[in-house]
Homo-oligomer: 581 residues x 2
């Protein structure tokens, strides 16, 4: 929802004040909107875009060289008045005429047409063009009733680039009409936006559902469907648009995958990965596609896919340099970096770890490796079950990623370990590979610590030892702990996994000295570790955490200590199936 | 929340696939992240940035000329592993050394330091730098414990621009450290983001509250406060940062007003309007400020303000050209438009309407003007009360802006009318000014229609008439209707305000012919208009609406017809206080 405003009724004016201040080198305010800071030179057509606000960077953000000469800025989702359109066009116009263009909405059509009529009455050649790219808003036999959505961006861009390139008004208008006739958009919405000061969103979409055929003014979709996977949605959007592929299409297309506001760049890229592949499978060649937020609708959640079927002239204009507050391209073309043109090779530049040669191992070491692999599998099952809870604990003072990171790491370790067991690897080889995989795949603090710990524990043993004793196991646990402590620069009491791991090692060693077998000793040590992990709730964290967050985390145990205790308990289940001690 | 994904566990990889495809001219994938598509030339320092993903355009979006040479890309909000940092740095490094830099988080510090150590062991000079700009995360005497948030962007940019400019590794590192020591950020959060596939947000903020001192990995804030106005928040952010203004500060500052994801550009500009004014009042000069989404946190709602206190060297680098997938500047500088350098004048270029000369008016016309002004005031009160309900009705098939647009328009009309009544204006002057003001201020479809209707109604009367009869009033209503019908190209039955207005005019005329006085006739006509407005629920809209939306609106009356009937009833209350007929 929109949260930052002063007087909701003055939202658009306040927005414009800030926009003009932030982008003063590009734009100047005039009554009704903005124009470029530099006057339109004689002989250049002025392209005026516009409509209601709430769609940034559309429309004031695209005023600049190679794009619009002026933007009429209405209130949120509301057409500017005829007078506003007139005053902006008047301020931007030179002697070569004006194209005024917007999406096809009744208010914009009415007001922009009236503005053009007034200009014509005064002797300035003025034309209007209303974009009709939204295929969901009317059937194909009534394209002139369709509304304009993200296709606005392409059509305005073609018109602006044509005017910059020196086309006359007939030429600019013709190209804009051609671009409009070859542009199709299909969108979906996941949630509605809330206007400044309004008590409720313009519309809502049920959880796990989506509205198909959204409008960029918060108009609801034309149908509703279950929320699909990204790959399924990509197919729906591509199929929908290609059903209207023009027969004269050359196969080269401009594309915009547009985020409406709250559907973020990472999601757009996930979706784009499949869209790009599908378009290629349909024989289409993408030309400088855009993936990002170009025509938004405040913080509405949703996306749209726009395709423009190019010819040579449209392609040249789509790719032309432009420099505006929110959209810039062409620097590299203007001033190529001639120091090197060598491309980085596409193939991975680092050789993968060679797993062909496995050191030969003693039966005892191989049995220990087998036990360790099963322990990792048991840990993995436990961590998957506990991931959400660990995330919640971690979120109190941290970033909430502990559970997911541990699952990533242990999964990588299991996958590295399993084939090694089959191929007869010893415990050192196995733990080293598992630790490397854990650290590489999990990342994060815990990934680095667990990776280092496993590798160090493995290095304290050998592949060739005739036996692996309980004392060897304690030694491995201790060595792993030392590596964790050295890497993390933490000590017991700092609210880290050491607060569970050190009591665990101490208890394990004490029980063994007292005569217990490894399984019994391990079991007793797990109880100690669990109690110690819970007791970290009383501690203050030390490393990498801000003091105020530390205070907040009092009363919550450390996620790393908890997961250590959980892993230690899981490992026990692997041992029960095996003779140990 | 994050809605678009396939396998949540593969989200980062899928994101990277789409990103690399969309930006192939800029970047190439390598194990662990991305590097520039062109190899780093001999003699150039490589700047490697990174951290967890989920912050786009940070960090892979800023790989390119004038910025980073490579980005290490971890899982969402999770540090990449040491090996990933190593492989990216190795792929990007030439012969002049590597600076590896990230925000100051335990995992990143651990892994990036290990990667640098490995590079050094292999004979490549490698340094690390961890950004500490977040003033909320630790007190000023412990700045090395602070975490890195949006200040990452400034520090990485300075390092990247310095490397591009040919500084050696010592120089790049020194500049990056200087930039870090002069960069401060303070942020607030309004709602938490939800990781792909997670069932709940990382944290929540109560409605109408905000968390102060947010972290960009979804860490909660360090304090909670009531949601302030934009102007109040601007003051809080500026005051917080200027409390740590370095003594050596020249007064020139780079600034980033950063949106976290769901707090949109329009809101940022509203906030920026006050921030910019306050910084100027503190004697600071802004240098190429950035207002937008530069370091996000998925769809978290929130903002942060970053200030970097510049010296000449830092300013040159901050302003240097750059060309990356998501951040580009310097085109104008590289290729200035020499056709004209004339600046558009800052003052309005269109003369405002001259209200000095008011045509003289007869007593009857002045009394009619006074009645009309009171009717507008009554309409305004009613429309304010009904705005939300009208918006909800309009949202069924439209964009939900009808109520707000009507209030904007009628308010402008009231404000235009009141001084004219005091100055003795007649009914034609008054209705014309009110109509112009309505159309200019409200915009939208209804603004254009009401403006045209009022102007036409006024023009059917005169300022000088000795009497204003009931027949004159009917004539004015009819003339206004004709103007609305002509402009909107609609007819009765099209589900527009005409469906209330035409029955209203017919009933008014019939009652008067039947001998009723104007007040009685108007009252009866209002009842007819109201019934007709409600009956529009059975109609299909005609203009500017997509067919599927039309179907959806069956059962809901037209908002324009309803508001017409409401306005007609309000006008009656103005007449009851006056002798009419």
């Amino acid at each position: 929802m929109t949260r930052l405003f002063n007087d909701p009724a003055a939202f658009s004016e306040d927005m414009l004040t800030g926009f003009l201040d932030a982008h003063a080198p590009y734009v100047t305010g005039v009554p009704g909107g903005v124009v470029r800071a530099q006057q339109t030179p004689p002989g250049k057509v002025a392209v005026i875009v516009g409509g209601g606000s709430g769609h940034y960077p559309a429309f004031c953000g695209i005023v600049g060289r190679g794009f619009a000469d002026g933007a009429v800025v209405g209130n949120i989702f509301t057409s500017p008045s005829a007078r506003e359109a007139y005053t902006v066009a008047r301020a931007a116009a030179s002697d070569a005429g004006v194209l005024i263009t917007s999406g096809n909405y009744a208010g914009d059509v009415m007001n922009f047409t009236a503005a053009a009529e007034q200009l014509v009455a005064e002797g300035t050649d003025a034309r209007v063009l209303f974009v009709t790219d939204d295929i969901a808003s009317a059937p194909v036999e009534e394209t002139d009733r369709r509304r304009g959505v993200a296709g606005d961006f392409v059509v305005f861009r073609i018109a602006g680039a044509a005017a910059e390139a020196g086309y006359d008004l007939d030429g600019v208008e013709d190209l804009a009409r051609r671009a409009n006739s070859r542009t199709r958009t299909l969108g979906v919405a996941f949630s509605g936006c809330t206007l400044p000061g309004a008590g409720a969103p313009l519309f809502t979409v049920p959880d796990r559902r989506m509205g198909v055929g959204l409008g960029i003014h918060g108009e609801p979709g034309v149908a509703e469907a279950d929320l699909p996977s990204a790959a399924e949605l990509a197919a729906q959007l591509v199929d929908g648009l290609l059903a209207e592929r023009p027969p004269e299409c050359s196969g080269r297309v401009a594309a915009i995958l547009n985020g409406l506001g709250a559907t973020k760049y990472e999601e757009l890229f996930v979706l784009w990965a499949t869209i790009s592949r599908l378009l290629a499978e349909h024989g289409l060649t993408l030309v400088e596609p855009e993936v990002g937020e170009l025509v938004t609708s405040l913080d509405m959640a949703g996306v749209s896919l726009t395709l423009t079927f190019l010819d040579d002239e449209l392609e040249t204009l789509w790719c032309a340099p432009t420099d505006t507050p929110a959209y810039r391209k062409g620097i590299a073309r203007l001033a190529p970096d001639d120091r090197t043109q060598a491309r980085i090779p596409k193939a991975p530049v680092i050789a993968q770890t060679d797993t062909a040669g496995i050191p030969s191992a003693s039966p005892a070491s191989r049995q220990a490796a087998s036990t360790a692999a099963r322990a990792l599998e048991a840990m993995r099952a436990t961590l998957i079950d506990s991931a959400d809870e660990l995330g919640r604990i971690d979120a109190v003072a941290g970033d909430g990623d502990h559970g997911r990171g541990m699952v990533k790491g242990v999964t990588a370790a299991v996958e590295a370990a399993a084939p090694l067991v089959e191929r007869g690897a010893g415990i050192t080889t196995l733990l080293s590979a598992a630790g490397d995989a854990w650290a590489a795949k999990a990342g994060g603090t815990s990934g680095a610590l667990w990776g280092a710990g496993l590798c160090a524990a493995g290095a304290s043993l050998t592949d060739s030892a005739p036996t692996v004793t309980a004392e060897d196991v304690v030694g491995a646990v201790r060595t792993g702990l030392k590596a964790v402590s050295a890497l993390g620069k933490a000590a017991p009491g700092d609210k880290t996994l050491l607060d569970a791991a050190v009591p665990f090692a101490d208890a394990l060693e004490a029980s063994l000295r007292g005569g217990a077998d490894l399984h019994t000793a391990w079991s007793e040590a797990v109880d100690v570790a669990q109690a110690a992990a819970l007791a970290t709730a009383e501690l203050l964290p030390r490393v990498g955490r801000a003091r105020p967050l530390a205070a907040r985390s009092i009363g919550t145990p450390d996620a790393g200590a908890i997961s250590y205790a959980l892993c230690a308990r899981s490992a026990l289940s692997a041992m029960t199936k095996e003779q140990v001690g």
